[in-house]
């Protein structure tokens, strides 16, 4: 018997070439070394890998020299093979098939692995590209499309149609549609889109706003507003046409002025144009209106028309108002005269400066917007005493504001048996301080006090008496006795515009109110529009304080401050202050 080594190779075009070598020996070396009978040019094979010996002409024995080898898929170091039954031995990338032909043991050798990886067949175009290195473009595109449509379209729509209170997930799904946070006032509606967006594809309607805002005043009747609105130009008509073809409400709908989703702060102030669309040329459409046309504050706003008495009078007409007092501001604010002297004398008792100031009599109201009425007892009474008697340490004072009570007090005083003369009575000059509160002010009574009650009363109400010094006195007629014309101190003159004194703290009183030169109590010391315009201009003006209509006026005709974000005012004031600081 002998070994028949049959080596099978393949040509490039796939044809098989078989070469046979007959080895007439009992032992056969297997390895990479060229000296072996079965030489395998394979780097995975040891130079001397194994030895094959015949046992009985039919069976062979394969023994590894070092590394193991494979037989029918298993890895072994030594094996006996019946050549008649056959087997496949594996050495590295070679396979040796054992079989029998006649008396010979046939060892068919073939290489199954490529010499190198580069040798292996591969699709060249894809090997050099990124195919397989990244998820495919088409697959990624479809996955992303699916994810976006599911997360940002299907889920919010599904959530919209869910009845009842929403889970946090449903709210979150809808929230991805919100174009921005709601204003502070509507914050609690965040995530509750259906509160305002009642129906799909229908924009927010006025009725929806009114479900909460039940007591909002209308600006005027809808017919009148409709008539007052300026006819838009071609472009405006085009925009309106587009808006109405997309089923937008308006013009004049709540959402025209009140825009939402603009940030989690106060709602932005309504733009000037929303007012001037009607008011700039109002008389052209509403012939019967009593309102003058009003446009940009800096350019085309009418003069202020305060309520004087019961009618509105333009400041240009220099209105005068008899408020019942004879109070000359100039005299009291003069920093040289007797009033200033008295203020200096009383500095220890009252917070006076070297002369009287506005604040000595005028105290702001609680909100700082306006001023409290001046009270005689606390303001005028600091200097103007109504004392008529002193009993021990107690000074007795006539009742202010009640003529009858004052008369009664004096009569009671003289009805007493033998009244000593009021202590302070008598002639001679006095120091200014002696006129003050808690001093018996005998000037008013003078020698009349010695002639009895009637004389003292007449003297009190006479032109040179205590009352008439400040008030208009009505003498007795018929059954009526002495009386005093009531004093009127209106708290507010501009009933349709809002003015906040607190917002003008940086200014002095005199920069707007010309009190220092007012010699007559009938002077109306309100500033005109030109005074305001030194700082305020229209909405888009370069003035220190650009001011839209909404800074002073409320569309919904309420008494209080107009709806307007305070933040804007403060910011413009700061930038104004910063700008003037730079200029300095």
């Amino acid at each position: 018997m002998a070994f028949l080594i049959r080596s099978v190779t393949r040509t490039a075009d796939g044809r098989e070439i078989v070469r046979e070598t007959r080895v007439d020996r009992d032992t056969l070396g297997v390895g990479r070394a060229a000296e072996n009978d079965l030489s395998l040019p394979d780097l995975a094979v040891d130079p001397e890998h194994a030895v094959i010996t015949t046992r009985d002409g039919r069976r062979i024995s394969v023994t590894a020299m070092g590394l193991a080898f494979g037989i029918d898929g298993r890895s072994v170091k030594k094996i006996d093979v019946d050549s008649a039954k056959g087997a496949e031995l594996a050495f590295g990338g070679h396979r040796v098939t054992v079989s029998r032909a006649g008396d010979d043991v046939v060892l068919a050798v073939r290489r199954v692995d490529a010499v190198s990886d580069a040798e292996e067949e591969r699709e060249e175009a894809s090997a050099f590209s990124l195919r397989g290195k990244l998820p495919g473009k088409r697959l990624t595109a479809w996955l992303l499309v699916f994810a976006v449509l599911l997360g940002f379209l299907a889920l919010p729509v599904w959530s919209f149609f869910q009845p009842g209170p929403k889970t946090i997930y449903q709210a979150q799904a809808e929230h991805s549609w919100s174009s921005g946070p709601l204003s502070a006032a509507h914050h609690q509606l965040e995530g509750n889109c259906e509160a305002c967006h009642k129906e799909a594809f229908v924009s927010v309607r006025d009725e929806t706003c009114r479900t909460c805002h039940k007591d909002v005043h209308d600006h005027a009747s809808p017919e009148r507003i409709g008539k007052a609105r300026a006819e838009p130009g071609a472009w405006g008509r085009f925009l309106q046409g587009v808006a109405s073809s997309f089923n937008k409400p308006g013009p004049g709908a709540c959402v025209d002025c009140h825009t939402e989703h603009e940030g989690a702060d106060r709602m932005p102030a309504t733009a000037q144009a929303f007012c001037t669309d009607c008011h700039a040329t109002l008389n052209q459409r509403l012939a019967d209106t009593r309102l003058p046309n009003a446009g940009d504050f800096g350019i085309s706003h009418p003069q202020f028309r305060p309520v004087v008495g019961d009618i509105r009078v333009s400041m240009d007409a220099h209105p005068r108002q008899d408020n019942g007092l004879k109070f000359p501001h100039a005299l009291h604010l003069n920093n040289k005269g007797g009033v200033a002297r008295m203020a200096q004398t009383l500095q220890g008792r009252f917070p006076f400066g070297d002369a009287l100031g506005c604040k000595d009599c005028h105290a702001p109201s609680g909100d700082g917007a306006r001023f409290r009425p001046v009270e005689m007892e606390t303001s005028c009474g600091m200097c103007h005493s109504l004392a008529y008697d002193r009993v021990g340490g107690t000074v007795r004072t006539l009742r202010h504001g009640d003529a009858a009570a004052a008369i009664a007090d004096l009569r009671a005083y003289y009805a007493g048996a033998s009244r000593p003369r009021p202590v302070e009575m008598g002639g001679g000059r006095r120091r200014p301080g002696a006129y003050a509160q808690a001093q018996v002010y005998s000037v008013y009574f003078g020698s009349a006090g010695q002639r009895g009650a009637d004389s003292a009363i007449r003297n009190l109400f006479s032109q040179s008496g205590a009352c008439a010094e400040c008030h208009t006195v009505i003498p007795p007629s018929g059954n009526a006795t002495w009386s005093v014309v009531p004093v009127r101190q209106p708290a507010r003159y501009l009933l349709h515009g809002w003015f906040d004194h607190a917002a003008h703290k940086t200014e002095t009183c005199a920069s707007c109110h010309k009190a220092g030169t007012s010699g007559n109590a009938t002077d109306l010391l309100l500033p005109g529009i030109e005074t305001c315009r030194t700082c305020h201009g229209g909405e888009g003006a370069k003035a220190k304080v650009p001011s839209g209509c909404a800074m002073c006026h409320s569309y919904h005709s309420a008494e209080g401050a107009p709806w307007q974000p305070r933040r804007n005012i403060r910011r413009t004031t700061q930038t104004g202050a910063a700008a003037s600081a730079r200029r300095n």
């Binding site: 990479r32 174009s179 937008k248 733009a271 144009a273």
Partner: protein
């Protein structure tokens, strides 16, 4: 349809001038589309400042809707390049003209889309659409940048070799290496075998883009095997060939990778736009 060539496009012998044939899509018709796109962007910016929208610029103002409409029309048209490019023609609407318009009008979307937002960005579907649009544009800009710079590097690296030739060269070196390594001892033979067995195209996207292969079996074999001149010189040749192939792969990866962002992000953008527009009219 081929556009008629003008006289200035032909040389004295009546042949088409090379400069005309080789004018890239960026320079197409003396930057016609760059000019158009610049005009469009400047007009959008001017309109943004001139338009009287209250209370503030916003995607929901008339100007915002206008920019949005222009933007979505542009995006859909730009997407059509994917259809158009499979259908090559010359002339007025040549693929080159179309690509030139695609690039410059795409860039003008940065202005149009961003002005449409009114700079009101947030965590919502609207900003998602804007962000995806910016991602598409930025990846496109990367694509333009690599198309403008890398082909020269790619060509220098190839030195006239085709990809098939590169692969064939590797195979030839491998076969020689295999033969030359036969006398080596088991340990060294294993090193060579690892070099032969290593796939030159292995590694993920980051390996491709970085061009660094620290686990290179050929480099390792070269370091370890000393004394066999033939094997050493073959390993050196193989390493040089691998370096060229890897540089080629790196450059090709850089040329291709942006499309893996550009195209899926475009489709995601169209989906996000669908959701964006639906949401606007749904909550009208």
């Amino acid at each position: 349809m081929a556009a008629p060539l003008k006289d200035r496009d032909l040389d004295r012998r009546g042949r088409v001038r090379e400069a005309v044939l080789h004018e890239g899509f960026l320079r197409h018709r003396s930057f016609r589309w760059l000019k158009i796109a610049t005009f469009l962007s400047l007009a959008a910016v001017a309109g943004y400042f001139l338009a009287d929208v209250k209370p503030r610029p916003n995607g929901g103002s008339w100007y915002g809707y206008m920019l949005g409409t222009i933007g979505v029309a542009l995006i859909l048209w730009l997407t059509l390049l994917g259809v158009r490019k499979r259908w090559m023609t010359r002339g007025r609407w040549s693929l080159k003209a179309w690509t030139s318009a695609h690039v410059y009008l795409g860039l003008s979307l940065i202005v149009i889309g961003t002005l449409h937002t009114g700079f009101q960005l947030g965590w919502n579907v609207h900003t998602l659409a804007w962000a995806l649009m910016m991602l598409v544009i930025l990846s496109g800009m990367w694509g333009i940048a690599v198309y403008a710079t890398l082909p020269a590097a790619l060509s220098n690296n190839r030195e006239e070799m085709t990809q098939t030739q590169m692969l064939e060269a590797l195979r030839a070196v491998d076969r020689q290496l295999h033969d030359a390594a036969q006398p080596l001892a088991a340990g060294e033979a294993a090193l060579v075998r690892k070099s032969l067995a290593q796939n030159p195209f292995e590694g993920g996207i980051f390996r491709r883009l970085s061009g660094r292969y620290p686990g290179c079996a050929t480099a390792k074999a070269l370091r370890r095997i000393a004394g066999n001149e033939k094997v050493d010189s073959l390993l050196t040749r193989k390493l040089a060939m691998l370096a060229r192939v890897r540089r080629h792969l790196q450059l090709k990866a850089m040329l291709e990778v942006w499309l893996y962002v550009h195209i899926p992000a475009t489709f995601a953008l169209i989906a996000a736009l669908t959701a964006h527009i639906t949401s606007v009219f749904f909550y009208w």
